[in-house]
């Protein structure tokens, strides 16, 4: 694997929960500016990989380098400070707080004076959030909550944004909006690492993809190569 120019590089990463080993030596590189997608069967270790990079799990073996620096085992706050954002699977963290308060919470790491402006900019950029800024985030639809979580992550101007199943539970129109948002964020300079079960859609917008199987690398290639690969199609894309 070409390590040159990799913004994020995992080598032989082993990680898991208590006695369960989920990642059994995964290697992966994401170059600056790319959209990279991880697909695989349920339980293959996709979400665990993102959690391990974000410092929610200690790698038991292997190395995780971000922008040339080893970050394996660093806590999430340390990882965030290096401009590595993460949008977990599921819905918003603070459902009782307003949309605006959620954004303020998300930006707590920032000390500069432009936070306020950035929050306003985000509310303008995503009109569906702007229109609901004073409403409790828990009353937003699932899709709106997903956009809110991405908006929060964007406030930290991530160099790399990791997104776990952005299309989960969304209606077809909202899926389009979420993927368009990911493309826009990428065009504006952020590198994207995403996990998706809507694999055809995700691969079609990704520069490259990785297939995980039982915690190990199975295939890798450009989005199109994976979409065209018969084995990948049969086992991971539903034929």
């Amino acid at each position: 694997m070409a390590a040159d120019g990799a913004l994020l590089e995992l080598r032989e990463v082993v990680a898991g929960y208590e006695e369960v080993e989920v990642l059994r030596g995964v290697s992966l590189a994401v170059r600056a500016g790319e959209i990279v997608c991880i697909i695989g069967a349920n339980g293959a270790g996709k979400s665990t990989l993102l959690r391990t990079v974000f410092g929610m799990l200690q790698p038991r073996d292997g190395t995780i380098r971000f922008a040339g620096e080893e970050i394996g085992g660093r806590p999430p706050t340390e990882v965030l400070k290096r401009s590595l954002g993460y949008v977990p699977q599921g819905r918003c963290n603070f459902p009782a707080m307003s949309v605006e308060e959620n954004l303020e919470m998300g930006a707590y790491l920032r000390r500069d004076a432009r936070v306020r402006d950035d929050i306003e900019a985000v509310l303008t950029r995503f009109p569906m959030l702007g229109a609901r800024r004073r409403d409790p985030a828990g009353t937003l639809s699932g899709g709106q909550q997903q956009i809110l979580e991405m908006a929060i992550a964007l406030l930290l101007h991530p160099r790399l944004l990791m997104v776990d199943e952005p299309s989960l539970g969304l209606d077809p129109r909202m899926v389009e909006i979420v993927f368009d948002t990911i493309l826009t964020i990428n065009r504006e300079g952020a590198t994207i690492l995403m996990v998706e079960q809507n694999a055809r859609k995700a691969l079609s917008v990704s520069h490259r993809g990785f297939v995980l199987e039982l915690g190990r690398n199975r295939f890798e290639g450009t989005g199109q190569e994976l979409l065209d690969n018969d084995d990948v199609r049969r086992h991971y894309l539903g034929g």
Partner: protein, 251 residues
Amino acid sequence: MALLEVRGLVKHFLGVTAVDRVDLAVEPGELVSLIGPNGSGKTTLFNCVTGYLAADGGQVLFRGHDLTSAPPHRVARLGVARTFQQVSVFPRLSALENLLVFLQQHQEEHLLARLVRTRRVRRLEAEAIERARRLLDLVGLAAKADAAAGSLSYGQRKLLAFAAALMPDPELLLLDEPAAAVNPTMINQMKDHILALHREGRTVVLVEHNMDVVMDISQRVVVLDHGQKIAEGPPEAIRRDPRVIEAYFGR
């Protein structure tokens, strides 16, 4: 007579009408999908039918019995099973035990018979375990039978919950986004299984955003928007319906 009949169902939340005078009749053995944008009232309708929410108006009839506002356990006992979008499993129980718990809730075995473990009880238990293993195999979790459910990934819990809903062999199965978070190849297996249940005469109502699933297997599709039924018909007609394209598919 319709197996499930919803008449003029109304449900409000803080001034918002989540379900607005919806009529829905599902015939025995039918496979019906309910689609609509996020927030259009699909899950609320399920919640009202299964007793998790009390309706503010209208009626729910199952086999002609009025079930409006009946508690969930009574609805379940009558043969209605459902899955949830937000999956909940018993994290400390194994995957297999999770399925057995589901069955137990529906068995009306006499307490004394259980205590003395009559031959009949033991046979039922053996059958239940056998059935649970088959269902785990079906959703690709055979190797995880003895693993704590809490150690499963989100998608695997989703599959476990799907298997659990099938345990009591319900007459009416309400599935709330079973394909979300599930790998496409597994979705195909899920689809095949729903079709197999349909061929056996079971009645299924499916809420799903995955149009490959909805359009492939449904006999009839009902579309909700802002709590109201805006269209109803066979999949091909729904796909072309301008109101549905406008409200749901987009573009």
